[in-house]
Symmetry: C2
């Protein structure tokens, strides 16, 4: 796996019972996954020679993030190393312009959008629809709210163009809530769909995920799952695909979904599955990239809630960690081995049970206590 | 953790979400746990200098097996390294003579037993009770049926004395079935009890575990749990304690339990908890030895069944592994990364659900298929 973040850490954890020999390319020996994996190569994923040296002896290459240059992935494939997801699929998660064009071509509903050339063009894009605000995104390099701007005028639209990367303009969708449809697809085409979840963001960063999404119309849930399975198939995805969705209310009062983003790797909106599903997203990602039969994605509990643990003002979480475990013996804590910095994702907690209010309260309390925003 | 076997492998797996930095002392770099742990020291646990060097920088030392010499553990403690379980507790799992004497002293029911000096003494021991057969065990060094003999006469009793280790004679208990009571205790005395399980052995090796033990009288289950908690407390155990029990029928038709063996580490009879309990034995062992609050040991499913995967005649299990995953997407496979040798424990499978017959059949089929004894 290329990339030593928490997704690689949790993928390794899921690979251990499967008997998988996991090899990691990590930026540093201190990265989240490098702390727990036996076979670690420290190097730069942007360097093709490093990637080639790393790939030697691997049966398959997969990713913790989407930042490996597409041309390097093609070079590895040309060397005969299976890359999963492959570059032709992954480019849709790397380049939002390519992603929107493809989703349009296969008839998947998206927010109104087009590539814009400068602030005047942003104003023209706004005028073509309901006006400002407009969302601007650099087509490459963004994540967790980075590389995304919401602007109210052409004057505010200068910054996104400074990076010299094409800029995608999108209508600011007046959504009811955000959902995510997570699916996993294997090379020979087997696919499984996790229940559609509700994802609540704070400041552009995923905060809370509720599985399954409460009060979601069954037909809409099914359509969202089928849409995600269809995207996986049409784009040739292998491994885990997260389809981030906006749930919008139509004029007739019914709901519809629009695709916000795609991620082709295990995803924050699937962390609930570690304790809440028969087979976690990480286990199914491993199974998919190795072309093993996929595991059952169904939930094990009526409700599972995940809340991210962000770093707070106190670098030492140890006493809070003790408190949370003592307070709730059913709490599932997942720490990433990262130094605590304000706002940094350093872990997540999962809770599950029959009573959603209780399950939500327990997860929120634990995450807040670990961050230091709740003190009793 | 000292020892690189599958128990260390699964303990590391359980420690990853807790954010634990796991350091391993392994006999070889190929051992089961050494394949998946970042920080591995290869060395001999029987050598005190190796242990001391390994222990440097550890917050606490715990074990994959019970074979570290007691005097070395005392030396580490004298160096100021917390050893959990400590030597005063662990000796009861290392030396069956010490164990029996202590259980007698605290009033825990055991099979009739005493240390015997030679084959004639075995005959005397038999005559003191119901005669032969008699079970003979070397007090140290046995596991999985090794170091245990069942003899029908004094003439057959020569072998056990050849090792020069004291020999314990025990009545051969006419048991209804074998049970195990698993508990975990932390240094400040918090303790949790897993439901009592039924354990079925084949050839002295654990084959199948059913959690909870079917048709077990509630009072007897509670007595067994309390007995295990009491043993943990009286012996000062820290970490996981497995109390292997014989369920016997008394003259009045009611059942009672006798203690067969103790193990002070995660134990084969607790592997079901990885998929069947809120908190697995491995997670609770880690929490206990680090003096963290313990997790909920309650079952997540009505029935969970574990069946060990033993090596069969075919060294390559890969196609069987594919078959089992494809046949049962809910199957939980746990492979240990070991070379397949006939009769060797190379993994286990867990299944869970509401229908015990179905859950048993699925686990048995998968384990049998992986071993090669079931071919369709």
């Amino acid at each position: 796996m290329v990339g030593g973040g928490q997704l690689a850490r949790m993928t390794h954890e899921a690979g251990i019972p499967l008997g998988i020999r996991f090899k990691l390319l990590s930026d540093t020996p201190q990265d989240s996954a490098a702390q727990v994996v036996s076979d670690v190569v420290v190097g730069d994923y942007r360097d093709l020679d490093t990637l080639r040296e790393f790939a030697r002896g691997c049966d398959v290459i997969t990713f913790d993030h989407e930042h490996v240059p597409t041309e390097h992935l093609r070079a590895l494939e040309a060397d005969g190393i299976p890359v999963r997801p492959g570059p032709d699929a992954l480019v849709h998660a790397q380049d939002k312009g390519v992603m929107r064009a493809k989703l349009d071509a296969i008839g998947v509903p998206c927010p109104r959008h087009r590539i814009v050339s400068d602030p005047e063009d942003v104003a023209a894009f706004a005028a073509e629809g309901d006006g400002f605000p407009v969302v601007l995104k650099t087509v490459r390099g963004g994540y967790d709210g980075k590389g995304v701007w919401v602007v109210d005028s052409a004057e505010e639209a200068a910054d996104p163009f400074k990076a010299g990367v094409p800029v995608l303009a999108e209508e600011k969708v007046d959504f009811v809530r955000e959902l995510a449809a997570n699916v996993v697809r294997s090379p020979h085409g087997q696919a499984v769909a996790y229940p559609v979840v509700e994802s609540r963001q704070v400041g552009g960063v995923c905060d809370t995920v509720i599985a399954p999404a409460p009060d979601l119309d069954e037909d809409l849930a099914l359509r969202a799952e089928q849409m995600a399975l269809n995207i996986a198939k049409e784009l040739g995805v292998v491994g885990h695909l997260a389809v981030e969705l906006f749930q919008v209310r139509k004029a007739d009062g019914t709901s519809e979904v629009l695709v916000n983003e795609l991620a082709m790797r295990p995803h924050n909106s699937g962390h609930w599955s570690m304790d809440g599903a028969v087979t976690s997203q990480f286990a199914n990602h491993v199974r998919a990239v190795l072309d093993l039969p996929l595991g059952d994605p169904r939930p094990r509990a009526k409700w599972t809630v995940m809340v991210n643990v962000l770093g707070g003002d106190f670098p030492d979480m140890y006493s809070a960690y003790l408190h949370c475990m003592a307070r709730d013996p059913q709490l599932k804590i997942h720490m990433y081995g990262k130094d605590v910095k304000p706002g940094r994702k350093v872990g997540h907690v999962n809770t599950y049970g029959d009573d959603l209010d209780d399950v939500l309260e327990r997860a929120r309390h634990a995450a807040g206590y670990l961050r230091g925003t709740i003190t009793e």
